[in-house]
């Protein structure tokens, strides 16, 4: 029998609070390109959660989710066989995959999942693919065994429990000092992308980042995801869901971008507290 659309066909715990899912949805699996995302709803009352498509295979696609608030927690509690209420996608502009030459692909934390399909695709275009992945500690260094195709792989952890000690941005700086890259991808927490962009700017190298702004529709209809792009002294409003999610990080107005991420802090805390009250202990997650 065929799996129903949006069924979770596979679930795996990657580390504390981070899960990988394979979802059955042939529209997404057939059309998804690296850099694109889906929007998922857990329930009829759920919010729309944007998540990067981290791989595809046949009629299924992969997402890697980090439980940070009510909706992602609820999603991570779903199990194999459960059906997601809604899955929309693929959305967003695909990454500009082509031959560049020497490429540097950086993933921090959960961002490692997002760079995986990009690095793979760049490799298939005969680029030299140098990968840096990093996390706080070894347990959180997800997918570290999946980058076997890379020409060069550097791993790092903040506490030195695996690979080099330090952040991906530290490793990036070292690399840029000794080698010239034609393009960089840097995806991870906003603050990491900001610093990676500053470094790239210093070395005058284009750097693609993937902005995780707060979204609703994902089709350019609400304007909620908008961000400021500053280039040649002019600032322009761009919609992350349709003009992005990838932008050259050198031109992103990081200050306003990061502030916009905390728009709903108060309401999010409330939602999380009441959800935890309802589901009880979540320390197993």
């Amino acid at each position: 029998m065929e799996n129903p659309i949006n069924e979770i066909v596979e679930k795996k715990r990657l580390c504390k609070g981070v899960y990988e899912f394979w979802i059955n949805n042939e529209f997404v699996a057939k059309h998804a390109k690296p850099g694109q995302f889906v929007i998922v709803r857990n329930t009829e009352k759920g919010e729309r959660i944007p998540l990067t498509i981290a791989d595809v295979s046949g009629k299924q696609f992969r997402i890697v989710v980090k439980a940070i608030g009510k909706s992602t927690l609820e999603l991570c509690m779903k199990n194999k066989g459960d059906v997601l209420h809604d899955v929309v996608g693929p959305l967003g502009k695909p990454s500009e995959i082509k031959y560049y030459g020497n490429t540097l692909i950086i993933g921090g934390g959960i961002g490692i999942a997002a760079i995986f399909p990009i690095a793979k695709a760049l490799k298939s275009f005969n680029n030299r693919v140098n990968v840096i992945i990093g996390a706080k500690t070894v347990d959180e260094l997800i997918l570290k065994d999946e980058f076997t195709f890379a020409d060069d792989l550097t791993t790092c952890t903040d506490d030195g429990s695996y690979g080099k000690k330090g952040s991906v941005v530290d490793v990036m700086k070292d690399k840029l000092r000794s080698e010239k890259f034609d393009v960089i991808w840097a995806i991870g927490p906003a603050v990491m992308m900001k610093y990676a962009s500053l470094v790239a700017k210093e070395f005058d190298t284009p750097v693609w980042v993937s902005l995780n702004s707060i979204m609703i529709d994902g089709t350019g209809m609400c304007g909620g995801c908008r961000t400021v792009i500053k280039k040649d002294g002019e600032s322009e409003i761009q919609y992350v869901c349709v003009d992005g999610p990838e932008f050259d990080g050198r031109y992103v107005d990081w200050e306003s971008f990061i502030k916009r991420l905390s728009q709903y802090r108060e309401q999010e805390t409330l939602a999380l507290e009441s959800f935890i009250k309802q589901v009880g202990d979540i320390s197993w997650l």
Binding site: H31, R41, K45, E47, L91, I216, M221, T227, S274
Partner: protein
């Protein structure tokens, strides 16, 4: 001849509206509808019809109300207008049918919208068959003309729903693709519950499902399925994707937290039910003082929604009340509910605090210039008239533009300089197999015009499929 007074509809008291999204207008009772219907002069040359974009036989459906023949009345309405319960509620009647009713000369026009709504609500509540007799026989007979024909409709707003309905009645197989998780377009994400209850839209969609229309949600055409694939799979396409992209004024501070487009604000409230947060997951920031910029239906809807979420609301509009494009009834409702209006003013800067939150708005005063060649009096800034108002939230409702989401993936489709799709008088685009209608062709307009465009395109599609 003295005319009797127009029968006004029942409404929730303004105080009752403050904390509820329940519908404000309660419509007519049977007796009230009869009274009002009897006021119609049944003109030999009914001017009202010329004011209705779909040319409803207005005296006809009103006559049947007088006779107590609601079933007949409904059939007349349905034969012109696929969504009477919706149009009765949201059409700008004062500039359409009611605006040209002869009674305007001697008194108040017939309340055509309220009568239309009354009949449609009656039919819905009594589960009256949705199809006219002629259509029921069409559905069974017409198939042979269109055996194996398949049409894809992109977008489920009023234009797309009309096309689906009309083609469905001809026995043509229709798949309707919608990017969002609910069907109805602006009817579900834009127009609030207190003006158009969602269950009415839902009911219309269930009728369409009964007609055999196949509804497919969560499919953003362009990415999840390409125009090329659709062109291969279907005999014709209808594009009704709306003009859903909000414009921003683009003044300093637009990136601050608390600065919303009306689309985002209304989508959070309506589609995502943020007014029921935390029962529903999607939040909204509202604060104590909300400023809405604009003077159209969207501005009124945003203002009245914000009020219901507990805020003190001021509408800032750059012209004066008489230029406001919103339906007159909504402006009146907004005033009754306690919304303040600040005319001849416009924001120039949004002022934020250290956390990036909006705290105040700097505005300037405007004055209306002499009429230009189009006859419009343009608002111009009065120098040094700046003033500051406090605000936790500002909602910009200054209009929308073409939704490029699909068009970017469909470069062969010819558009005009504003980005709207170019069609001929039958709704056919530069690609013969592709038809289009609604806001994506005209720019933001009205529900009834989108439906009218849908009807025209249906005739175009039917012709095209025959040849």
């Amino acid at each position: 001849m003295a005319v009797k007074d127009r029968i006004e509809v029942r409404e929730l008291e303004p105080e009752e509206r403050h904390h509820t999204f329940s519908e404000v207008s309660l419509g007519y009772t049977y007796e009230m509808a009869q009274e009002e219907a009897k006021r119609c002069l049944q003109c030999k040359v009914p001017t009202c019809i010329s004011g209705c974009p779909v040319g409803i036989d207005i005296p006809g459906f009103i006559r049947e109300i007088v006779k107590g023949n609601l079933d007949r009345s409904f059939k007349i309405l349905k034969s012109y207008n696929y969504l009477p319960a919706i149009c009765g509620r949201v059409c700008p009647q004062e500039i359409q049918c009611e605006g040209v009713c002869v009674l305007n000369k001697i008194g108040k026009p017939i309340n055509i919208g309220a009568l239309e709504r009354f009949v449609a609500d009656w039919a819905r509540e009594n589960n009256v068959n949705n199809l006219t007799d002629e259509e029921s026989s069409n559905t069974s007979n017409a198939q042979k003309d269109y055996v194996d024909k398949k049409v894809a409709v992109i977008g489920s707003g009023p234009a797309g729903l009309t096309v689906a309905s009309e083609l469905g009645k001809l026995g043509i197989s229709v798949d309707i693709y919608e990017a969002l998780h609910e069907f109805g377009g602006v009817l579900v994400y834009g127009i609030p519950e207190f003006r158009l209850p969602k269950k009415i839209v839902g009911k219309e969609i269930s009728h369409l499902e009964a007609l055999g229309v196949n509804f497919i949600k969560n499919i953003p055409v362009g990415y999840a399925i390409s125009p090329k694939e659709l062109l291969e799979k279907y005999d014709a396409l209808f594009v009704g994707v709306g003009a859903g992209t909000p414009k921003f004024m683009g003044i300093p501070g637009s990136e601050l937290n608390g600065v919303y487009s009306a689309n985002e604000f209304l989508t959070r409230v309506n589609l995502m039910r943020a007014y029921k947060f935390p029962e529903y997951d999607t939040p909204i920031r509202i604060g104590k003082r909300v400023v809405v910029v604009g003077g159209g239906n969207t501005a009124m809807d945003a203002a009245r929604s914000a009020l219901r979420l507990g805020a003190h609301v001021t509408v800032v509009y750059r012209r004066t009340e008489s230029e406001m494009p919103a339906r007159k009834a909504e402006i009146a409702h907004a005033k009754e509910e306690g919304i303040e209006f600040m005319y001849l003013s416009t924001p120039v800067t949004y002022i934020g605090d250290a956390h990036g939150n909006l705290v105040a708005i700097e505005c300037v005063r405007m004055q209306l210039s002499e009429p230009d060649e189009s006859g419009r009096r343009k608002p111009v800034i009065i120098p040094n008239s700046n003033f500051v108002i406090e605000a936790d939230t500002v909602i910009e409702a200054i209009g929308t533009e073409a939704n490029k989401f699909l068009l970017n993936q469909f470069p062969d489709l010819k558009t005009n300089k504003y980005g709207y799709i170019v069609t001929n008088e039958m709704g056919q685009t530069s690609i013969p197999k592709v038809f289009a209608g609604g806001d994506i062709v005209t720019g933001s307009a009205t529900v009834i015009l989108a439906m009218g465009a849908g009807k025209t395109a249906t005739r175009g599609i039917a012709e095209f499929l025959k040849s």
